[in-house]
Every structure is written in C-alpha cells, then in structure tokens.
Symmetry: C2
Subunit: 209 residues, 2 copies
C-alpha cells in the first residue's frame, strides 16, 4: 500500500476538498495539519509556496482541483466519456469560482466586507447555489452525473464547508438538493471514518473578522 499524506493548514480552506475526496476514496491518508511555525519552514519546499499538497510515497501533487481530479481519475470517481467528464469539471469549476468570490470578500478589509456583505449573501451566493441546486435536483442528489457520485461532489462538500466557515452561516440551508450532495458524501464509509477522527477546525488567520 502506498503512503498518502495530505498537508494543509489546521483549518478547512482548500485542504478540506482534498481531505474529503481522499477519505471518500478510502485512502488511509496521513492528515498532516501544518502549524504556522512548521509552514514557515515547509513553504519554500512546495512547488508554488502553497498548500494543499498531496504526497504519494513522497511524490508531490499540488493545487486543490488537480489533486481532487487526480484522485477521481485514479479511483474511478469521474465520468465515462468526454461529455460526462465535462459535466464533472464544470460543476467543480463553478463551485470553485464561488469559493474565489467568497474568499475575496472574506479576505478584504473590514469596511469593504461590511459594504459588500449584503450583495454576497443575498445575490452572489444564491445566484451560484440556486443553479447548482437545480442541477443536483435533476441528477438525484449528485452534482454532475445522474445517480453517480464523482470527485466533484466530494470537492464541493469540502469547498462549501470552507465557504460556511468564511461567512459563519450554513449556506446550504435553503438548498435541499445540495444538502443531498453533502449527505451522499458524508454518509460514505470513508468520510464517516475521517469525520470521526477529524480535529477541531483551527483558526483561519487570513479571515479579517
């Protein structure tokens, strides 16, 4: 059995999608939660000075979406043809685009955060989630492919949890189909095991309030 190690900060962030995907794949990974002291030494050894990093027997994989897609390809959590693979990709990309927008808000200055809060909560987030929810509805509780789980579902579950931590809300409260996506991920054997042992969420020092 190869040794898998996922390295990321002690909070959810962009590490959580990788942790969820690896857990769903029943990969018994080392959950390496990196403190700031450790990170100052580790940073220069990573490909772009960033985490998450997945190591498999020492070989380094970086960037959250490519890591999750790699695991998806390896463990058959993807589409069967170019059309299906596109659906998986575009679902993950759309979730990631929303993450980028929430992140920009969360990491901006207090004045800007106050000014833009209402637009974020009442317009930006619902405009993405309503479309993703509709799609998950059509697919029976899966984001990309009808009645089939893919890495996009695992990725989305991790990203949406990160988004929740940034806005201090459960953004899925009005989206029943996206709740089903989350449920399909967290009820799997691998993820149940991961969540049982998961350390408490650490502080995200990038968050401005």
């Amino acid at each position: 059995m190869p040794t898998y190690k996922v390295s990321y900060f002690t909070f959810s962030g962009l590490g959580e999608p990788v942790r969820y995907t690896a857990a769903y794949c029943n990969v018994d990974f080392i959950d390496n939660r990196v403190t700031w002291e450790e990170w100052s030494k580790l940073k220069s050894t990573t490909p772009l000075g960033q985490m998450p990093i997945l190591e498999i027997d020492g070989k380094v994989y970086h960037q959250s979406i490519p890591i999750c897609r790699y695991l998806g390809n390896k463990f058959n959590l993807t589409g069967d043809n170019a059309e299906e693979i596109y659906e998986v990709d575009v679902a993950a990309e759309t979730v990631n685009e929303l993450r980028g927008k929430v992140g920009m808000w969360a990491y901006s200055c207090k004045r800007e955060k106050n000014e833009k809060y209402e637009e974020l909560i009442k317009k930006t987030i619902p405009s993405y989630l309503s479309k993703l929810d509709e799609q998950a509805g059509k697919n029976g509780g899966f984001l990309a492919i009808k009645d089939k789980i893919t890495w996009a579902d695992c990725f989305a579950t991790g990203v949406l949890e990160y988004i929740n931590s940034l806005v201090d809300l459960d953004v899925l409260v009005d989206y029943k189909n996206l709740q089903k996506v989350r449920e399909n991920v967290v009820s799997s054997e691998g993820v149940k095991k991961y969540l049982k042992n998961r350390p408490a969420e650490g502080e995200n020092p990038f968050k401005t309030w």
Copy 2:
C-alpha cells in the same frame, strides 16, 4: 460535421484560450465576437451570465478551463493515464492562477495598480513563469508532457497573450522554453489559419488603464 461556435467579447480575455484550443484541434468554429450591445441581450441566456461559451450543434459548454479540457479530451490532446492527466491539469491550473492574479491587478483602481505594479512585474509574474519555463524546458518545449502537445499548451498560449494585453508587455521575453510552447501552438496548421483571419484585438473595457 457538427457546427462549433465560440462566443466571447471582441478582446482576447478568457475567450482566447478557447479559440486557440479549438483552432489547434482544427475545429472550423464560428468565431462569434460579441459587442456590448449584443452581450446585454445574450447575458441572461448563458449558464452563469458569463462568456466564453462553446456551442456544438446548439449544446452549450461554459467556463474556459472545462471547455478547453473537453476539447482536449475529445481531440486526444491530453495525457494517457492519471499521472499524465494530472500534469496537464496542474500546468493549466497554474497558468490560470497567474491569470487570476494579473487580472486582479489589472481591474483594480489606479492607485492600487501603481502601488502594486513593481511587485507584479518583478515578483509575481517571474515566480510563476520561471517555474513553468523550467518545466517546459524539461519537456522539450511542452508544458505538461515530454515532447507532446496537450490542451494545456493551447490554453497557456491564449492566457499568456491575455496577460500580455493586461500588462502591455511580452511577459515571455526572458523565457525561452515558454516561447517554444507558444511556437509549437501557433505554428500548427489550425492555429496558423485562425491567426491569419483573426480580427484585431478589441478594447477591453474592464481594464482600468
């Protein structure tokens, strides 16, 4: 033969990677350059109120990276296994991350642009390009796979042209291996034909100076 149509604004932007990839695949696509008047009507009909859009016999594909990957999968411009596919993905993702950073700078206010110009030109851009150049050197002038062109090369060529238009420089001037990547893309029959007929770059109204 199915009808392909690529819709994007009249400037390079995120449309150019799709145009390059489609052209490389020898897809004889309708190059639909959308004016602002047309966009105001078209916007609400797109999946996320965004372009580029690829239509194949009317079926809509959106988001630049997923579209390029879809074309890459369809026309065999990708890796042969999970390891190679990861290399293609992470190369494209890294180029796209740089694009995001240059875009944030280019679309910020004048004061901020002035303040951050030197950091962008002397630190951010070289930190990404030097790594990508090193990789392209190892791969014989290809970004992801040794001696093999993939959609990541086409995507990168389009994105780097967009970046050039944002900073009004040729950012590749010091990066011989990335120049080879570009050369490998633009010297193909399909791209030569595309470039021969390409309209002049339109104004990018998002650019703040």
